[in-house]
Amino acid sequence: MENGNSSFGDKKCALKPIRCKAAVSRKAGEALVMEEIMVAPPQPYEVRIRIICTALCHSDVTFWKLQVPPACFPRILGHEAIGVVESVGENVTEVIEGDTVLPTFMADCGDCADCKSHRSNLCSKFPFQVSPWMPRYENSSRFTDLNGNTLFHFLNVSSFSEYTVVDVANVVKIDSSVSPSRACLLSCGVSTGVGAAWETAKVEQGSTVVIFGLGSIGLAVAEGSRLCGASRVIGVDINPDKFQIGQKFGVTEFVNSMTCGNKRVCEVINEMTGGGADYCFECVGSSALVQEAYACCRQGWGKTITLGVDKPGSQICLDSFDVLHHGKTLIGSLFGGLKAKTHIPLLLKRYLSNELELDKFVTHEKKFEEINDAFQLLLEGKCIRCVLWMG
C-alpha cells in the first residue's frame, strides 16, 4: 500500500490511490479528526496535489460550524493552499508532475464565454457553488476514509489533507521559488481583497477608501488600496484592536462602529470625508452593512463594493430615489474580480518585486496536526492567517 512519502518518480503511484493523513470534519462545530484516508488517482482533467501548506480562512470556519446545507459531513475542508503536482489525469497538459501550483476555489476553465470575456471572472462552465463533489463529474468524490465511506470535497480544493485531487480548471501553476507560506495566501483571501481594490473598484491614486470589517479580507483590501495609491483608508470595525493591526496594512483612520453614539456610522464617515468616500468596501457579509456603506459613498461617483457573503436569501434594499438621483454604483465581487490563472501570477510578481506585502498577513505558523488550535485562534479573533505545514 503506497503511503504519502512516495517519490514522484515512482510511476506506480500515479495510477493508485494514496493513503495519507487528513483532518476530517465529521460533525458540525466539533474538532477535526486527524485520520488516514484514501485519495483516489486523478480522473481525466484532474490533478493530484501533495499539499505543502494550507491556511485557515473564515469560510472554512463558516462551513465547519453550519449545521444545514450546503454544509455536509464528513468533509475535508480547507481551500487556501499551495502544493506540488504528484500526478495528472488524462488530457492535462497545463501542468506536469513536480510543478508548484495553487489550487483555487474559483474556476478558470479558459474556454467558456465568461472566461474568455474581460468583463467577467465567473466561469460559467464550472459556476461557483459550495458543492460536496468534484466539479466535472456528477456526485463524484476522490476521498474515502479507511472504512470505504465517501468524504465530501469543499470548494473544489479540500486542502486539509496531505494529498488532494483538484480539477485542472482550479489549478494555477506558479513560480516554485516563492515562499510557500506566503504564496498560499494568494489562492483565496489576499487575492480577493487586493483584487477588489485593484480590479473590481480600480481604486485611483489619491482616493478616499472606507473598509467595513478589518478581517483578512478587509486588511487585504487595505493593502490593495495602498498599492493603488489611496490617500485615506478608513477602517470600520467593532474591535478596537483592529486599528493597530490595520495600520500595518495602510489603514489611516479608524471608526469603531460601537462607539459612534447617536450617530450612524455612515453619518460619521460622511462628516469625516466631507460628503462620502470614493470607494466603500463591505467585507463582513451583512446586507445591512452594505446599505450603510452605500450611504457613505460619495454622491456623483461613489462606488460601493460588496465582498462579504451573507445568509442565503438576504437582500440589500436601496432607496429608489437615492439610486436614481445620486449617481452611486453598487458592485458585487467574488474573488476580487480576478481570473485565477491570469491574475495570481501577476500578484505573485508584485510580491516578488516587494510591492505587495504578504508577510504581515501570516501571524501564526503551525504543524498540520495542530489544526484545531488554528481554528481556536481564528474563532477568538487572535490571528489573521495561520499557516499549517504538512509533515
Binding site: R119, F128, S314, D319, S320, D322, V323, L324, G327, G332
Partner: protein, 389 residues
Amino acid sequence: MNKTTSFSINKGKPIRCKAAVCRKAGEPFVMEEVQVDPPEAYEVRIKILCTSLCHTDVTFWKIDSGPLARFPRILGHEAVGVVESIGENVDGFKQGDIVLPVFHPQCEECKDCKSSKSNWCSRFADDFLSNTRRYGMASRFKDSSGQDIHNLFYISSFSEYTVVDIAHLVKISPEIPVDKAALLSCGVATGLGAVWKVANVEEGSTVAIFGIGAVGLAVAEAARLRGAARIIGVDLNPDKFEIGKRFGITDFVNSALCKEKTISQVIREMTGGGVDYSFECIGLEPLMEEAFLSTRTGSGKTVILGMTKDILPIRLGSHDILRGRTVCGTLFGGLKPKLDIPIIVDRYLKKELNLDGFITHELGFEEINKAFDLLMEGKSIRCVLWMDR
C-alpha cells in the same frame, strides 16, 4: 420687425404671455395669461419655440400630495428656445441664441462639475424642488391675480416665455432643426448617454430595455450604433415592437404575457444566462429588480433611468449582486449638458445619429391636453407642441 428688435422692447420688463397652468392634480390644463418677470443675475429669459411632452411631466402632473406636489405650477421641461434677454453676470449667452433648457444642472464650478468622473453637480443637484437656483422659492411667474406660480425642474416650458438659470441652459448650433434639438434637452439625450457614457456598451453585447418609450428607444438606438448583437425590448404594449424595430430592437418580450415565469427568467432563457446590460426606463421598483435579475452572472450591469414617483425600496439579492453584478442609477444619462449636448448635436448634423422617428405627433401649444391623452394612451412617443401655431 424681426425677433431681436421685438425682444428689445421687453428687456428689463415683465412679459405677459400664454401658459398652460396646472392648478389641480390630473386635471386638464387651462391656458392662462401669465406674467414672466425679467431675469435676475445669472438668469436668462427665453422664448420657447417648441416643447415636447415627457412622461415625467405626466408623473408630476398627477401628484396631488406630499413634498413633490406644488400648485399652481407650470410643467414642461423638454424644450428649445431663443434667448430674449439676459440678467447680470451672464456670460456665453446673448439675445437670439438658440438654447436648450436642461433639467439637470451644471454649475461648472464645483468639484464634481470640474471632474470628468460623473455629471453630478454637487452645488445644485441635491435640490430639484425650489423655484429658482439662487433665489429659493421666489418665482418668476405670476398669474393674473398676482399669485406666484411654481416652477418644474427650473424650466417650466409649458409657457411661451420662461426664465432659466444659466446652470440649466445650453447654447446649441442653429443648424439643427429645433424640434429635433428639443429631444436632446431630456429624454433622448438621457437614453443615448446611458448607453454611451454610463454603461459604455461594447460591440457584440446583449442588452435588455425595460420600457419602450422615448428613453427606451433612445437606449436602443444608442446600443445599435455601438454594435450591440441583441437588443431585447420589454413592454406591455405589443405595438411597441413594431416601433422598436426601427430603432434596433431585435427581440420583444411582452411583460403581460410571461405567465408563470418572471420577465427576468424569460430573458435569461432567451440569452443563455442573461444580458450584459439592462436598462430600466420606466420608474417602477419591481421592474428595476427584474432588470437586475435579467443580467448575466459575473458581468451584468443594470442602469436605472426611470423616474420614480413613490420612493420604494429596490431589493437586490445579496447572492446575485455578489456574483459580479453592478447596479447604478443615472440622471440625464450621465451627460454633462454643456459639454455633451453640443457633441450629440454635432453627431446629428454629421448624420451619424438619426433622430427621426421619435417625433410621432405635432400639435399647437393650445392642444396640450390632447398631447397628454396621446401619451397616456400609449399612442405617442414624442408629441411636439409648437408655440407659434
